[in-house]
Symmetry: C2
Subunit: 564 residues, 2 copies
């Protein structure tokens, strides 16, 4: 392999991976990494946990120091060094040393842009008031912690209910602050469908975190005389006024494409740097990786932005490989992601119902609530699991899960299945580990496959949580087959109650001329009820996810109407 | 669907699943389940945890009662009913009611055999002495608990280091008994390769459980005058005498094929009932599922016995589906399995190195020790991970993992990958969840793919833990590139020490005419060292798994020689 002069802009996830891989492949190349900030290779995903004290020492956030990278990989690491321009024609970049103010230029054979994404700062009046912070790097969290200490902050308003916003809400709550979240959308964690996000709403409310959903920020005001707020009063569109000693802005990110645009590189429809599947930009000697680029969505085939560390790391490795003769392609993204929020985890992979509806892609969705491990072994919790699949081919399109335990595992299995285009039949046949402390003999993924297979083969027809009201209005009969104790703890209004064990004896109580919607607690017993009814000539469908899914949507999701 | 008369022999995992599925598909069929024991659908995998007290109530072990199954599924459940013969020609079975002693016969349209597997009882002298127990059903564990109480048992000897043996060792230790394990093989948990099983040996020894490996039982003796043992003295081939107040026999299981043989059904080469992929025996109206049958090993293509609850459950569902017009095939087994042993979990899927060696299948294996989640977030532990793949195609052949956290997740992802014939390149590209509390940006499975890919693409050549001694005898130089503190904590004898950061400056200290075997703690830094050396013209290979793998094999595995 010939020696090259490789310059890398950005020294965190994608850039650092690319640099290390490049050195492993070419001992004789010159490799220079330019990083605008003071740190390379820091743990940006760990920042909220440092604020909350779960990570106790700042140095833990430094995955690699410039010295470490120099000695291990013989890299020329230049921190506090901003690349200000790229001349693609001359294959040169302009650099400003932020400490000396000196400008200089460097030439390259190949250039990798790992410029990341910047926090969105929409022009909301007062958004730049003091005490407002974004969470992108170590200086940001240092500033937050200094402010909290200085102002003895007791309240925080988080603007935006995405990953960063929710993690910061959790961590500031751990620090004892009273936390409110303002989110313009009617739900937090947008990649989830609303009835799945509802579990997060319930968890946040159970921690006394106040949620303002579907209520965007109108403006940030200086606090009035009777408004104790060391930072701002956050005024929402609804008129609500939230006093905040600290404001965290988690309004999403946008790809940093200034350098790429300046160099005349192609920019994609979503505003990210356009690359081919080798991660090459429109200039053959400039490569781009990480949050700054657009990638292919494996499920929808469209272009998407995926500002996550996992893809960035793999992309860095692939780009460096391509530069040094190890041909590799980035196969696109599934958008697999997870959030730990207090005792819950919420995760997803592939397309959501929302996305598929928007794109007009036909889909079917099933909900279930299997135990995280064998129910007879202590500590099992239900996992709210949703899988979305093609109603024609049965091909998996997406999956979402929320629960106390085992959410990461099931989403990882489903992400692996999705990657290779598995059908719901394939899910049934997966052979996953089983021992009582970690699983059931039928893993929740197997169960999801079975439930979907029954729908696909038309052994049962289903109804979704959001269809119940309309169907009842059309004279459908809602049949609750749970036992008495479950019924007493709460029921869907207007439903008829016949416990499953009595159903065969009480069929005469049911009408043959009305559609019957069966439900139980999770959908499993009511599936049996549905099979009994249809085989006896009734017209019946099963409420998928049953009472649990309906109830969370009713209490904390879209069915709660104006009560959000 | 026409109504049928379906008889099912055996009412636990496979039989109970088949019965429930059959009823869901056919409301009008007559379905009778015959169970020799007093319980149907009990949690056989939970039995050890009831002995140890983790599961506190016996009723928790009863997944479904006969009454529950009757009322929910309209099944005719006959417990304490032994099927004594099958007349395939007449389509009749003979039944003995074990409570009344009455014999009667029943006719069938279709018959499902779910007869399970019986504990092996080799003709070891004294094996049937009082105080000796197997662990197959609830009466077994009741008898164990009665005996422990009656004899105030303080010591137990477990004969056999398989799943049941190890789980019982753990649980009896929880109850405060002094536990010894005698295993004829040189390792416990035979599906694992020996250097992976060594982690379990270390864990057992750290709990003061005494291990007698490679030492079969010669005989069980009545205790002598000075041998306090309420049950037996277990005499090993080595002459060791283990006094036991309680003896657990966990010597494996064999398929119960008596009925099948009597009916003239084909029996396979491994001694299980032979079935086609629809789970039909050699008689088209007799089906068989669960521990009693032979299934195809997906990786090796051979026939195997897989006495596990997960496959049994799925097989029951498939057999019932085939009988009632839902065509389905059982695609064979990967042998995915897990053991929780104190703080460790050990799991595997696919073929082991041992199996592939025996079959003469070419393979390559890599070891790594990635963190269970982001190293900078509290509570991360290394996972000992081994993947085995084809050196030609890169196709995954098997995987094994041992660790404190996240073992189940990684093996489930690898089992899913294995199922569809993924290569190590595919593992690199899996898009798995990442957040600091649950993972690293590069999941251990991604990392395993990368390590294997480097070997496959010949970016690095590797050496296995068991090759080190022979290579050193042939004048290879062992080079330790860890830092000083790691070196001081222990090193491989005869190795040269140059910390990685100094390597480029100290190349002149190394010989060009000798092969250099690099190692570090896990193999990651020594891979970098290997890349540096080979690019500088040295002949170098990397010790896969490095010091951690070598050290466990040395202290608790095959390299410990006579010290086991």
């Amino acid at each position: 392999m010939d020696a090259k002069r490789l310059l890398i802009v950005g020294g965190v996830a994608g850039g650092a991976s690319a640099a290390a891989r490049a050195r492993r492949l070419s001992e004789t190349s010159e490799i220079i990494v330019f990083e605008r900030g003071p740190h390379v290779s820091f743990a940006n995903c760990g920042l909220p946990y440092y604020v909350g004290g779960e990570i106790e020492e700042e140095k833990k956030l430094i995955v690699q120091t410039p010295d470490g990278l120099r000695s291990r990989f013989n890299l020329d690491i230049r921190v506090n060094s901003e690349v200000t321009a790229v001349d693609a024609h001359m294959k040169r970049i302009e650099v400003r040393d932020l400490q000396t103010g000196k400008n200089y230029s460097e030439s390259y054979d190949d250039l990798i842009l790992s410029t990341g994404a910047a926090p969105l700062m929409p022009p909301i009046p007062g958004i730049d008031r003091p005490g407002h912070f974004t969470v992108r790097n170590i200086p940001d969290v240092e500033a937050i912690m200094d402010w909290v200490k200085l102002k003895q902050a007791r309240s925080a308003v988080i603007v935006g209910g995405g990953y960063i916003g929710l993690e910061m809400a959790e961590q500031l709550h751990h620090r004892g602050l009273a936390v409110a979240i303002a989110e313009a959308l009617p739900q937090v964690m947008a990649p989830l469908d609303p009835e799945m996000a509802a579990w997060l709403h319930a968890e946040l409310r159970s921690r006394k975190i106040s949620l303002h959903l579907g209520d965007a920020v109108a403006r940030f005001e200086a606090p009035g005389d009777h408004e104790p707020a060391a930072a701002s009063v956050v005024v929402l569109k609804s008129g609500a006024r939230l006093a905040a000693d600290l404001v965290i802005l988690g309004l999403g990110v946008k790809p940093e494409t200034g350098l790429a645009r300046g160099a005349g590189l192609a920019i994609g429809e979503r505003g990210g740097i356009r690359v081919n599947d080798r991660l090459q930009t429109s200039d053959p000697h400039i490569w781009a990786v990480g949050d700054a680029i657009e990638v292919r969505d494996v499920v929808t085939g469209g272009r998407t932005l995926i500002p996550l560390a996992g893809p960035a790391n793999r992309q860095g490795r692939i780009a460096a490989g391509n530069i040094f003769g190890r041909a590799g392609k980035y196969p696109g993204t599934l958008g697999t992601a997870i959030l730990r929020l207090f005792d819950l985890s919420a995760a997803c992979t592939g397309a959501s119902e929302k996305t598929l509806s928007k794109l007009g892609v036909p889909f079917q969705a099933v909900h279930l609530h299997p135990a995280s491990h064998a129910g007879y072994y202590p500590g099992a919790h239900p996992v709210a699991l949703k899988i979305i699949f093609s109603p024609e081919s049965g091909k998996l399109l997406g999956a979402q899960a929320v629960g106390h335990e085992g959410v990461d595992k099931r989403i990882d299995v489903l992400a692996t299945a999705l990657k290779v285009g598995m059908t719901v039949d394939d899910l049934v046949n997966l052979e996953l580990e089983y021992a009582p402390p970690s699983n059931s003999a039928r893993d929740p993924v197997n169960q999801a496959g079975m439930v979907a297979q029954n729908v696909l083969r038309k052994d049962v027809d289903i109804v979704q949580w959001h269809e119940v009201d309309a169907l009842c209005a059309e004279q459908a009969l809602l049949l609750d087959v749970r036992d008495d104790a479950e019924r007493e703890a709460g029921a869907i209004p207007g439903s008829l109650h016949i416990p499953l064990p009595q159903l065969r004896q009480r069929l005469h109580e049911l009408p043959k001329d009305r559609e019957i919607i069966t439900h139980c607690q999770t959908g499993q017993r009511s599936y049996i009820a549905c099979r009994i009814l249809t085989q006896h000539g009734f017209k019946a469908r099963n409420l998928t996810g049953s009472y649990r899914t309906w109830k969370i949507a009713r209490d904390h999701g879209p069915l709660s109407g104006g009560h959000l």
